[in-house]
Symmetry: C2
Subunit: 546 residues, 2 copies
């Protein structure tokens, strides 16, 4: 028997209508690439989003068609977020920092009909255009008077497009499972793969983000959105904040500490979200400018950090220097992204500051609305004992069922579980702690050894500058850990001293099979250890020894 409640589709237009009706005057503040502050509000953004919809109709962009952006965080990008999706088209936010060939690949793969770009990317657009014959037009996000000469076939001006159409448009009603946004993940191997979000997934995710134990977005908030709008929908903040009417502060491309500080102070920001590197630099700059700043003017209450794990020292410094809480988040593009958040429990009410940091360094507890489980090497579900190491698997309404156009094949099992590739423990309170990537973990004698944990311990040795652990084949144990050490300048550590140092800190069966000293370690463009290269170079060679 069905209930007798209304069944209305969960659409992004619900939340855009909500802010337009109830929070029309709440500000949307942007800083353009030149550093000029632009002030808009939800009412204006929603009205201009309707102009975007009419402009798309005029351009012949149909329901479900993809529209790309190459743009910083700004009010115009936000208008596209709302106008493209609410009208039934799909917004494809392209990361302009990708390699040019990757950008060409994904715009082509997505069949983007139009590309909306910031003027910062004129050079990029001119390089891309010859390779993208399917793109019908390139729309510069600027006024007519600022429109530069761009060497592309069909150059259009955003403000002219909007001025030529009416702001009258009624958001259409359609199936809540309709696609709304598209983001490509840039894996370390193979081509990027597209994650195609739906209106339903976006609204349910936004509800979870607005929860008191979520990111707790509120109409009282002013949110500095440092995370780019082209990165997993900026953790979906543009949608979550429209659900509650929080003021948005969009910083454009300048993310240096001083620029961030100025916005935090001027716009009375209460929350801010960005990757740990941002906060690391910001805190260092605060130190250097201590005498000149009046921190009491800041209204900041919470910092969100995700992308990679925030170091303990950063979390402590945010607490000590700013007097605020760093909320650790974990998720991925494939999960919209929020899966876990480091919100406290009742027990932390009486915890010591150190115990609270112990909790904060972990990646947080599963939010309600998705499901998370820890799975061992044989597929068995592992206990939440803080010891058992397994892969995190996720399922739920904001988790992918497959990549765009079927790339990568079947990515969830028959019960809907998606393997994240992240290896972790879960403690009895439910806090997840990432220990490794699945591809980097060492499978020894049927058990898993965390490469990252050995690396972190090796780093505590006074002579070690950097360390990497990879798996090497072993006739008895299948795999064993190999430790690669880049010593500090002038230091000359021995294998014995390193192993002795580790022996008091890790279990015997975790001990590296060997230690190899290297002059440097290879890194990816984003600074992560390039273990594939290490495995090619050292994995096989040492195996013979084993």
């Amino acid at each position: 028997m069905l209930g007798l409640m209304q069944q209305r589709p969960l659409l992004i237009s619900n939340i855009v209508d909500y802010v337009a009706t109830w929070h029309a005057k709440t500000e949307i503040v942007s800083r353009d690439p030149q550093g000029v502050i632009h002030r808009s509000n939800y009412g204006e953004v929603a009205t201009r989003a309707k102009r975007v919809a009419n402009a798309l109709v005029k351009l012949g962009v149909g329901h479900g068609d993809r529209v790309a952006t190459l743009a910083w965080n700004s009010w115009r990008h936000l208008e596209l977020y709302y106008g493209v999706t609410c009208s039934g088209r799909v917004l494809h936010t392209v990361n302009p920092r990708l390699f040019q060939e990757q950008i060409v690949y994904i715009i082509d793969h997505a069949d983007d009909g139009y590309v909306f770009f910031d003027l910062d990317f004129v050079g990029l657009v001119e390089q891309l255009a010859p390779h993208l014959p399917k793109v019908k037009g390139w729309v510069a996000l600027c006024d007519a008077r600022d429109l530069p000469a761009v060497k592309v076939g069909n150059l259009l001006c955003y403000e002219t497009l909007l001025a030529e159409v009416s702001p009258d448009y009624v958001w259409p009603q359609f199936d809540e499972n309709t696609a709304c946004t598209l983001c490509y993940t840039s894996g370390t191997t193979g081509n990027p793969k597209g994650v195609l979000y739906s209106h339903r997934s976006t609204l349910l995710h936004a509800f979870a983000a607005c929860a008191a134990d979520g990111m707790a977005f509120s109409a009282k908030d002013s949110i500095l959105v440092i995370v780019p709008l082209f990165h997993a929908n900026a953790w979906s903040i543009p949608f979550s904040c429209a659900m509650c009417g929080a003021k948005l502060v969009l910083p454009g491309p300048k993310l240096d500490p001083e620029s961030i500080y100025t916005l935090l102070e001027q716009e009375a920001c209460t929350k801010a979200g960005g990757i740990p590197t941002i906060w690391l630099n910001f805190l260092a700059w605060l130190d250097a400018n201590k005498g000149k700043l009046d921190l009491s003017k800041l209204k900041l209450k919470m910092i969100f950090s995700g992308g990679t794990a925030a170091p303990r020292a950063t979390i402590q410094k945010v607490r000590d220097d700013l007097g605020i809480f760093l909320l650790h988040a974990w998720g991925m593009t494939e999960t919209s992204p929020i899966v876990t958040l480091g919100s406290p429990l009742a027990k932390h009410e009486n915890a010591t500051p150190d115990e609270i940091v112990d909790m904060q360094v972990k990646q947080g507890r599963q939010v309600c609305g998705v499901e998370l489980k820890l799975v061992g090497k044989d597929g068995e579900t592992l206990p939440h004992d803080g010891q058992s190491i397994g892969e995190l698997k996720v399922r739920g309404n904001w988790v992918i069922s497959g990549y765009f156009k079927g790339e990568g094949g079947k990515v969830v099992d028959d019960d809907g579980w998606f393997g994240t590739g992240d290896v972790a423990t879960i403690d009895p309170d439910g806090y997840v702690q990432l220990t490794d990537r699945l591809k980097d973990v060492i499978k020894s004698g049927g058990e898993w050894i965390s490469s990252i944990e050995i690396e972190n311990l090796a780093l505590l040795h006074p002579d070690v500058f950097e360390a990497a652990v990879i798996a090497i084949p072993h006739p008895t144990w299948q795999e064993r850990p190999l430790l690669l050490v880049h010593p500090k300048p002038g230091a000359n550590p021995t294998k014995e001293s390193i192993l002795e140092f580790l022996s008091t800190r890790i279990a015997k069966w975790w001990m590296p099979e060997d230690v190899v000293f290297v002059e440097s370690l290879p890194h990816t463009a984003t600074g992560k250890l390039l273990k594939t290269e290490l495995r090619t170079k050292y994995g096989g060679a040492v195996a013979v020894k084993g």
Copy 2:
């Protein structure tokens, strides 16, 4: 084009599994009718809810069948909340305070197969049973050793039922629009009508309740649930709190101030929800016991109040005596119930205490997820100017589409709008202020006059004990207000003194056509003015004068 995110049904079992997995040890504290404290937790409640499901299977209760409760707020009632709904049956929470004939009517109308009752209601059950031949069994919510002799056909014992079945049960998956709970509204006219909630409506409503700007439920909270589980699903708190793992404190039948105070202190309650009368009595008791209490022991941070408007004095006293915030809520059984909540905006950060109370006395802002509009006499949408008076209309996923079994006919218009019967203004910040019930408003010359506002002003006259305003027919103006006054003992006010008093306080066209002095005014069982009786007695008679 559809998105490529998973589509999993929104089911109450999602949140019950969530708390069972992540908050198993979080306490569910109940006080039984004898005042004995019972301690359970989400893990136990969830396990016993599975026993409930197996017991229902054994009893032959099928998918979609209704199961009734006549019970106070307790862990067993909570187990039924979860076990009945998650297994696909429908929980019908019956208000034991209704007239006996009404209870017979609704249990019969709902086709309840089994009735689960607290021992407090043995007498009631014995009176009901002969009139309810369709009920197959009466289940006493007690241990076998406490089972009294009850003169009903098929008496069963809850704990025996549970002990006889396995706790192994996998919650079934089904359409998220499946019915889960049933509540009857007791209107002032006609038979009670059933509101049939769905799993989808319940989960979406719970998301809104957990929002930071909602009731902000959190795993850090300990919630005293004073509002009965038989009243609009206790504002859905049992579901919303399972979504975040908040501790629940269920007070049983004793709701006197001392019993409430003891629980607040002992269970470190952070939030509590109940009707204004509860808080009025509680604050008076605090006054009377000031010297004996150490209020600093309380952890209470917020009070929710709904049902009827909380008086300004109560809101101020909650602030001054307890140092906490009273959150005003508005909604109805037909709306799950939350539609508006009095959560502050950014502007209130710098508001004076009086300005904040000005906001708090209103019924709050629309939460995202439902839609609210103010509609004038000709169906036109009215502005949010704080002046325009209209009826509140609501639509959305947790608003009814119709009553159970089609009673009352079509209750929403073609666009899904449900007329609440509440008349209000909405101010420019979006805060709703109720001014009247639609049936009581005076429609004069095409404009609406609030009966309640005139009554409240008349009450300020030193000689007025109670006042009532009803509409009387008028040849020119259609309707005009008639003021009925019950003078204070010994006072002898004149019509002229009353009208003069009002003349400086209301617009000329709002002035009562006449004043009639009466020795008393009729009330409903719940203490509201019985205006139907006044209209019968005075409406016609005075009309002749008009």
